[in-house]
Symmetry: none
Subunit: 192 residues, 4 copies
C-alpha cells in the first residue's frame, strides 16, 4: 500500500543524515547501505548512482522547503510583517519535520555534483523569497539592500542557528524562535 518502497525511504533518510553530517564526498555508499540496513547493491535499484541520489535528495527537500514557505503565505492577506511571520514559521515547520535537511541543503547547495535541475530548484526557492522582499521594498518596509544580500542575511542566519540547534549548541524553544524572528525582522526591515 506504500507508494514509495520502504527500502528507498530508508536509503533516503540514511543519506540525508550522512550527507548532512559528513558531506557528499566523505560519505561512502557502503556507509549509506549500512545505515539504511540495506545491501550496497540495493541502493542502485532505486538510484542510478551516488550523484542521482544526492540530486533527488536535494531537490525533494528544497521543493518541500519552498512548499512550507509558500503555504504559510498563500492563505492570507494581512500586513507584510505577518507575511514575514508566516515565512519564518514555514521555515521552522520544515526544520521540525525534516531534521538535518536544512543543514544538508546549506552545505550542498554549491556542490559541483548538482544537476541543472537541482540548481533551478534552489533558484526557485531563492526567487520566491526575493519576490517577497521586492514587494516589501516597494512598500518601503524592507531595507534598500540588494535582494541577494537580504537572502544571504535571512538564510545565512537561519541555517546557522539551526545548525547550532542540531549540534546541541542551542536548545530549541519558542522563546528562541521568537527572539530570532524578531532579530531577523530587524535585520531586514527598515527601521521606523
Amino acid at each position: 500500500m506504500e507508494s514509495t518502497p520502504t527500502k528507498q525511504k530508508a536509503i533516503f533518510s540514511a543519506s540525508l543524515l550522512l550527507f548532512a553530517e559528513r558531506g557528499f564526498d566523505a560519505t561512502t555508499m557502503p556507509m549509506i547501505a549500512e545505515n539504511a540496513k540495506v545491501g550496497a547493491g540495493t541502493i542502485y535499484r532505486y538510484f542510478k548512482n551516488k550523484e542521482s541520489l544526492v540530486n533527488e535528495l536535494f531537490q525533494q527537500h528544497v521543493n518541500e522547503f519552498l512548499q512550507c514557505i509558500e503555504s504559510g503565505l498563500a492563505n492570507e492577506r494581512d500586513g507584510y510583517r505577518d507575511g514575514f511571520h508566516h515565512i519564518f514559521e514555514g521555515m521552522v515547520t520544515f526544520t521540525k519535520n525534516h531534521p538535518r535537511a536544512l543543514g544538508f541543503i546549506k552545505t550542498h547547495s554549491q556542490g559541483a555534483f548538482l544537476t541543472e535541475e537541482s540548481r533551478l530548484a534552489y533558484q526557485k526557492l531563492v526567487e520566491f523569497v526575493c519576490t517577497f522582499f521586492r514587494e516589501g521594498q516597494k512598500q518601503g518596509v524592507i531595507r534598500n539592500l540588494p535582494e541577494n544580500a537580504l537572502i544571504a542575511i535571512l538564510f545565512g542566519s537561519f541555517m546557522e542557528v539551526y545548525e547550532m540547534i542540531e549540534n546541541n549548541y542551542l536548545s530549541l524553544t519558542d522563546e528562541l524562535l521568537t527572539g530570532v524572528e524578531e532579530s531577523l525582522w530587524a535585520a531586514l526591515s527598515r527601521q521606523s
Copy 2:
C-alpha cells in the same frame, strides 16, 4: 632570510583556493601540487599529510581572522556601537586580505578531519565575539538571545554575504558594506 619557504607558501595558497572552491575531499594532492607548481612529493616535505595541511591552513586563517577582529577592538574605548563597527571592519579587512579564506573557513569548520586544536582555534574566535556580546548584553544594548544565537546570526549572515560576493552574485561596494553592517547591528542590538 625568509622564514617561510617560498614553496610552502605556494602550497598554502593553492590549497586555500582549491579547498574553498571544491572542498577538502574533492581536492586531490596532485591538484594542489600542480596549482602550486610543485612536485607531488614536495608537499610532504612541508606537511605531514593532507589532514595536516587543512588543519594548518584552517588554524592559520582562523587565527588571523581573530587577530583582525581583536586588533580593531584593542586600541580604543569608544562606545559599544563603535566597538561593533571595529569588529565588522576587522571582518571586512580579513576578507579583503585573504580572498576565499572566509569561504574556506565556513565550509570546513564542521569537517571531520579537523583536529582538536583546530576546533579550539575556531572556538576561541567564537569565544571572543561571545565575550563582546555578553558585555553588550550587560550594558543593555545587545538583544537577550543566547550568545550562540547571536554568533550564528552575525557569522551566518556575514559568511553568506561574502560567499555571494566571491561568487559574483553580489558586488562589493562600500554602500553594501555599510548597509549590511547596519542590518546586522539592527539584528543584534536591542531596539531603542
Copy 3:
C-alpha cells in the same frame, strides 16, 4: 506433452543469440531473462547457473553439428569427393537451421568456463572429421598434412566465412557455397 518446456527453449535461444553477439562474459543473466521474456530467477529453475547454461548450449549445438555432418555421410558410399560434399552440405544445413550457432561455437570453444564434457563433445566432432581425413589420406586423395592442420583449415575457413555472412559482409548464395566448397576441397585434396 512437450518434453522441453517452452520457457527453457526461450532461454536457450535468447542465450545463443546474446552469447554469439556479445560473448559469454559480456552477456548478463538479466539480459538473457529480458530477451527470453522470463524472470531472472526462472533461468535458475532450468539451469544450475550461468556456466551450466553455456555448457548445455554448447554441447547441444556441437552435437547437433556433428549429427548434421554424420547424417550426410552415413547413408551413402559413393566416392570420397562426394563424401566431402555431404560433410560440407551438413555444415551448411546446420548453419541454416541454427543461425548464429556456429559463431557461438567458434567464439566459445576455447572458453575457460567449458567443462570437460563440453570439451569432449567438441573433440568428438573434430575426431569425426579427422577420421574422414585419415581415410582420405589412406586413399591418397587428401594432402599429407597433420590432421589438425586439415581441421584448422576446414573449420577456420568455414567459420570465418559464416561469420562474414551473419555480419552481412557476404551474402549467402548457392554460388558462394559452391565456390567455397571447391576452394576448400582444393585446399584439402591432393592436387592431381
Copy 4:
C-alpha cells in the same frame, strides 16, 4: 635510453598473453598487474583505462601485422605466386615475433570495446589483402570468389592453424608451413 618505459612494456606483454588466453572480459586489471609484476595503479599511469589498453594493444599488433605483410611484398616484382609467398612469409614472421598476438587479434577483432580507430586499422589490413586478391583476379590466377570470402579463407585458416600451434595441438615445422602455404594457395588460386 629506452624510449618506451620498461613497466609499460611489461604491462603490454602481460595483457597480450592474458587477453589472448582468456579474452578481454575475463581478464581483470589485477591479473594484468600481477603478471606484469606491477601495482594495479601503475597500469593507469600508462593507459587511461582497460579499454584504452586493449585498443592500443590491438592497433599496435594489427599495424605490425600489416607491416610484416607489406614489407615482404614491397621490394620485389616477381610473379604473383611469389607475391603470395611473401605475404604468407610475412604472416609467419609476425606470428614468430609476436607469439599469441594473432590469437589476440582474431578473438578481439569483433569486440564491442574497439574504437573506430581500431576498427579502421583492422580494415586497412583487410583492405591490403583485398587489393592483392583483386589484382590476382584481374590476372586470372585467383578464384572468382568475393574478396571477403577469400580473406575469410586465408585468415580463418591461418589463424586457426596458429592457434593450434600455440596450444600445442600442432608443432611448428618448416614442412608444416610449406604444406599449409600450398594448401592455401590451392584454396585461393584458380586451378589450371
